[in-house]
């Protein structure tokens, strides 16, 4: 056992790995004892024991999916880990944190969510690109830099938002300068004439917690399509403008569309 002592800071084995806790800031360890966890594809980096990873469509998982997974758009990104042992999760060397929910709800940007316990139910948030988890259990999510917790009322930068818990969904907030005619639009579009780049925020009100990451570094998200076109469904059947734009994301201010509207085109 002592043969390799002194190499690296700490050597972990299945006995010394933590149970459902962080190994370090960037790696999270999950213990499975015949239990199951949902995890996003490709976030498992290593495991001890015997485990199986099955896609959401696997027939054996029907019951589980029926109670805990309600997002067809994200089904192809998620798998269920099944078995016993300890498994390490990590994501592009981003900070990883776990959140415990007790009969509560939490909404997280879909690209930041790594894993959750099936005692929670996953649903698509009405805000495109976000997923809501409802119930009791543990969530593992990544962020670029440590997470900061804020309380509403607050306005946040869209790129810094990781998610929110318990409070109502946010609304868009545009600064007054944006609405003052053609010049406002030109300014925002070109950056000439003192656009600070902070004219558009998400505004939260009500009781709850808002989670922010300490950088405006967004994680690339996988295109997941859009919700079906139905009357009354926001973001439904929208036209995708490019692969980089999140599904149904609010159009950034200053994009040409805004100017066109100003001209009444």
């Amino acid at each position: 056992m002592s043969q390799y002592a002194g190499s690296g800071p700490t050597v972990f084995d299945p006995m010394t790995l933590p149970v459902d806790d962080n190994v370090n800031k960037y790696t999270f360890c999950v213990e499975l004892k015949g239990s199951q966890w949902f995890l996003q594809k490709g976030k498992m980096i290593a495991y001890y024991g015997s485990m199986e990873f099955n896609g959401i469509g696997h027939g054996r998982l029907d019951r589980l999916v029926r109670t805990s997974f309600h997002s067809p758009l994200h089904a192809s990104d998620w798998v269920v880990a099944d078995g016993s042992g300890k498994m390490l999760l990590a994501d592009r060397a981003f900070d990883v944190n776990a959140y415990d929910l007790e009969d509560a709800n939490m909404t997280i940007r879909s690209g930041n969510l790594l894993a959750f316990q099936p005692s929670l139910a996953l649903k698509q948030s009405i805000v495109p690109g976000f997923l809501t988890l409802i119930g009791t259990g543990k969530i593992v999510a990544a962020s670029s830099g440590p997470v900061v917790f804020m309380e509403p009322p607050i306005r946040v930068d869209p790129q810094a938002l990781v998610g929110w818990a318990d409070c109502p969904s946010p609304c868009h907030h545009y600064d007054h300068a944006y609405m003052t005619g053609l010049m406002g639009g030109l300014r925002a579009m070109t950056g000439i004439g003192g656009a600070s780049g902070e004219e558009h925020q998400f505004e939260f009100v009500g009781a709850g917690t808002v989670l922010l990451q300490s950088s405006e570094n967004l994680m690339p998200e996988q295109a997941t399509g859009v919700v079906p076109h139905e009357p009354g469904v926001p973001g439904g059947g929208g036209v995708r403008t490019g692969p980089s734009q999140q599904a149904g994301a609010p159009r950034l201010p200053g994009q040409l569309g805004d100017l066109q509207r100003r001209f009444g085109l």
């Binding site: 056992m1 043969q3 390799y4 002194g6 190499s7 690296g8 800071p9 700490t10 050597v11 972990f12 084995d13 299945p14 190994v23 370090n24 800031k25 960037y26 790696t27 995890l39 996003q40 594809k41 490709g42 498992m44 980096i45 290593a46 495991y47 001890y48 485990m51 199986e52 990873f53 099955n54 896609g55 959401i56 469509g57 696997h58 192809s76 798998v79 390490l88 990590a90 994501d91 592009r92 060397a93 990883v96």
Partner: protein, 210 residues
């Protein structure tokens, strides 16, 4: 004597001895140092030819002198490895520095290398001394023993040492082709006795999204 200054800079204290380091990785030094490029990883003509043939290329310099020399590469996290006669297997791109007394070479890795997308060959470091390896995010060191074999994602694997047997596992089933794969289509299983280093990030591998 290797030591870490922070987690991304390696400081080496030298008293007339030498270290081999990745070419161009010196960021500062104190005292008297001589830097000499070593052709073919300093493994002689045979090593040079092998590296050229296997594509496991490594440009190495020898640093010799009195004082302290600091090394870093693209703000990667650095992990120290102590070798006591055993062998370290590491990708040449993840190897930052070794004691000059350690022997380096190349070895065939088989399917593991292919699944990682960095070639069929890997670098070995052998002997008594210290080596520094780099990772994207601090590496987690996992012990493999007889009763606890370990399975690793090829994209997160960076190095291993000791007496380990590795085998390649494929989770590819008919479901994979319907886009219903388990997301972890290729895995490496380590059995035996030793240590495996994994990084909290995945390289893009052939099977990245399967």
């Amino acid at each position: 004597m290797f030591r870490l200054q922070g987690s991304k800079v390696l400081a080496v204290d030298m008293t007339g001895d030498a270290v081999k380091a990745k070419n161009g990785s010196m960021v500062a030094y104190d005292g008297q140092m001589a830097f000499k490029k070593m052709t073919g990883g300093g493994e002689g003509i045979r090593g040079m030819v092998t590296r050229r043939l296997t594509g496991e290329q490594m440009t190495v310099m020898e640093v010799r002198g009195q004082g302290t020399c600091w090394f870093a590469d693209r703000a990667s996290e650095i992990n120290l490895v102590n070798l006591q006669g055993d062998k370290l297997y590491v990708e040449s791109s993840n190897l930052l520095a070794t004691d000059a007394g350690l022997r380096t070479g190349t070895t065939f890795t088989g399917l593991r290398g292919a699944s990682q997308g960095n070639g069929l060959f890997t670098t070995t470091v052998e002997g008594h001394g210290q080596a520094a390896i780099m990772s994207d995010g601090p590496a987690v060191v996992l012990r493999v023993s007889r009763q606890y074999p370990l399975t690793v994602d090829p994209g997160a694997y960076i190095a291993h040492q000791g007496n380990l047997h590795q085998s390649f596992q494929s989770g590819v089933t008919f479901r994979t082709f319907f886009g219903e794969g388990g997301g972890e289509a290729f895995q490496i299983r380590f059995e035996g006795d030793g240590l495996v280093y994994v990084q909290p990030s995945e390289r893009n591998t052939i099977a990245g999204d399967v």
